[in-house]
């Protein structure tokens, strides 16, 4: 590391933040763009499993809430891609790379949604897992990203409440509805446990070293378990992991997640990856003329 890079490292590790036009070490800039881009991709891809259910929402209130939730996710992707663009990678290039499978998005968005139970579980637990990661970005050393995270976290708070409301309503409903919730939870538990990534020590995690995020992977997962397993159990739901328990020292024990599956999925081989990327590609192509008509003139 050059002296200038060392100085930068010490600056961010002591809480310093930088802006778009500040000097950034090459490694920092590259890792930052990749990380933020993956986040933008995830918001955009996360929309696809959920939007099917917008059309099937069983009450007007749920229809409004779910549409608003998905709208927020799109809004988040807009905020995030603007940050990436100001760092030098245009939005269209990000979308090109996403569709071509050259860039990644989070594991959970590669899986199918099968019932209204999924809608509840995703809004309650997947969003909860995401918000824990997002809170760890509020003090990001790259200030423009930290600033949008504030708006994102604020908006996500309603998503979790909406999810919890959907789940509670079903748990207070019929046996069939309760079965829907349990069945969905059984399917989503694996991806949820993989969501925060494999447990590398935070000192070896470049994202932590550069203070892009303020938390290691395992720390995030423990926070998720601590916050949400009690919520799951108090509703009479079970978690499909016989080893799951909280030790006396406060640490949650669990069956080691399938890290091979995680890698396989995020490198583009999830059950729904190809289909969803194709949907993105097709709708993008069908609306390309609109962007030409509307944006090209101004360029």
């Amino acid at each position: 590391m050059t002296p200038r890079e060392q100085e930068f490292l010490e600056y961010v590790q002591s809480g310093g933040q930088v802006e778009t036009d500040d000097w950034l070490p090459e490694d920092y800039r590259a890792k930052l763009i990749k990380f933020i881009e993956m986040h933008g991709n995830s918001e955009l891809m996360g929309v696809l499993p959920e939007r099917e259910w917008i059309l099937r929402a069983p009450t007007l209130q749920r229809k409004l809430a779910l549409t608003a939730k998905v709208q927020d996710e799109v809004g988040h992707s807009q905020l995030i891609y603007r940050v990436v663009e100001d760092l030098g990678k245009p939005r269209e290039q990000c979308l090109d790379d996403l569709i071509a499978g050259k860039s990644k998005f989070h594991n959970v968005f590669h899986y199918p949604t099968k019932t209204w139970g999924d809608v509840g579980v995703i809004a309650w637990l997947v969003d909860a897992a995401a918000i824990i990661s997002q809170k760890a970005l509020l003090k990001c050393s790259y200030a423009p990203y930290a600033r949008i995270m504030k708006k994102i976290c604020w908006e996500e708070s309603f998503h979790i409440l909406h999810g919890r409301d959907v789940i509670l309503t079903m748990m207070l409903g019929t046996d069939e509805q309760r079965d829907l919730v349990q069945e969905a939870l059984d399917r989503w538990w694996g991806p949820l446990m993989q969501f925060h990534g494999n447990p590398i020590a935070r000192e070896e995690d470049p994202m932590y070293v550069w203070r892009i995020k303020s938390q290691g992977n395992e720390e995030a997962r423990q926070q998720f378990l601590d916050g949400y397993v009690p919520q799951i159990w108090e509703l009479g739901l079970t978690v499909p992991d016989p080893k799951l328990r909280k030790r006396d020292d406060g640490v949650w024990e669990y069956t080691e997640p399938d890290w091979a599956e995680l890698k396989h999925v995020v490198t583009g081989h999830g059950p729904k990856t190809a289909e969803r990327l194709e949907l993105r590609r097709a709708t993008r192509e069908e609306t390309a003329w609109v962007r030409r008509a509307v944006l090209a003139e101004a360029a």
């Binding site: 959920e50 007007l60 549409t67 799109v74 809004g75 891609y81 309503t169 069939e176 962007r291 008509a293």
Partner: protein, 190 residues
């Protein structure tokens, strides 16, 4: 059913189905910023439908949700224009948006003059939200008016505005999807 309630159901059904169709663009609109803006319009339309159903419920009895979901497809009173699935055709979508908002403006203006204070009051509230829909439609109209495909879409869709009462298979398909979860567990609360 009184004339007035029929009229209310017509508007409510128009807004419901149009809102449902417009929400099909959420997540796949041409630009991210537009995706967010258009989704708000779709949500507003559903919200308007809900408010009109609640008014109709005064006389008819069933709740807004029951009116929105639990009738048969042939009982809806919406116009043919709103029943069509237009995704992924943005030209047709904006053409419909423009045609509908223009016609709706007149309809709302008339309702604001209603003797029934609740109807007049609701129409006034809705009008204030619709002002933004009209601005949005106008903005896009100006941008696309030189596109041949947009003019073609306007010509094709315009006659459908006033076609009512002959439910299409498109509406029946939409109804199946709309009510799928609701029908899956009879009588359940969601």
């Amino acid at each position: 059913m009184t004339d007035q309630v029929q009229k209310i159901l017509q508007i409510a059904d128009d807004e419901l189905i149009l809102g449902w169709r417009n929400s099909e663009w959420t997540g796949i609109a041409p630009m991210l910023e537009e995706d967010v803006a258009f989704s708000s319009i779709a949500q507003n339309e559903i919200g308007h439908a809900r408010a009109w159903y609640e008014l109709a419920a005064r006389e008819l009895g069933p709740t807004a949700n029951e009116l929105a979901f639990d009738r048969r497809p042939d009982e809806y009173r919406c116009s043919r224009l709103v029943e069509l699935r237009l995704v992924p055709d943005w030209a047709a979508t904006i053409a419909r948006h423009h045609l509908y908002e223009t016609a709706d403006e007149e309809r709302i203006a008339a309702l604001k003059q209603s003797d029934d204070t609740e109807i007049a009051g609701l129409a006034a509230k809705i009008d204030r939200e619709e002002a933004y829909h009209r601005m949005h439609a106008q903005m896009w109209f100006e941008r696309l008016q030189d596109e041949p495909r947009f003019q073609e879409a306007l010509d094709e869709l315009r006659p459908l505005l006033d076609v009512r009462g002959e439910p299409t298979s498109e509406l029946a398909e939409l109804w199946e999807e709309m009510t799928m979860v609701r029908r899956s567990v009879a009588g359940a609360t969601w």
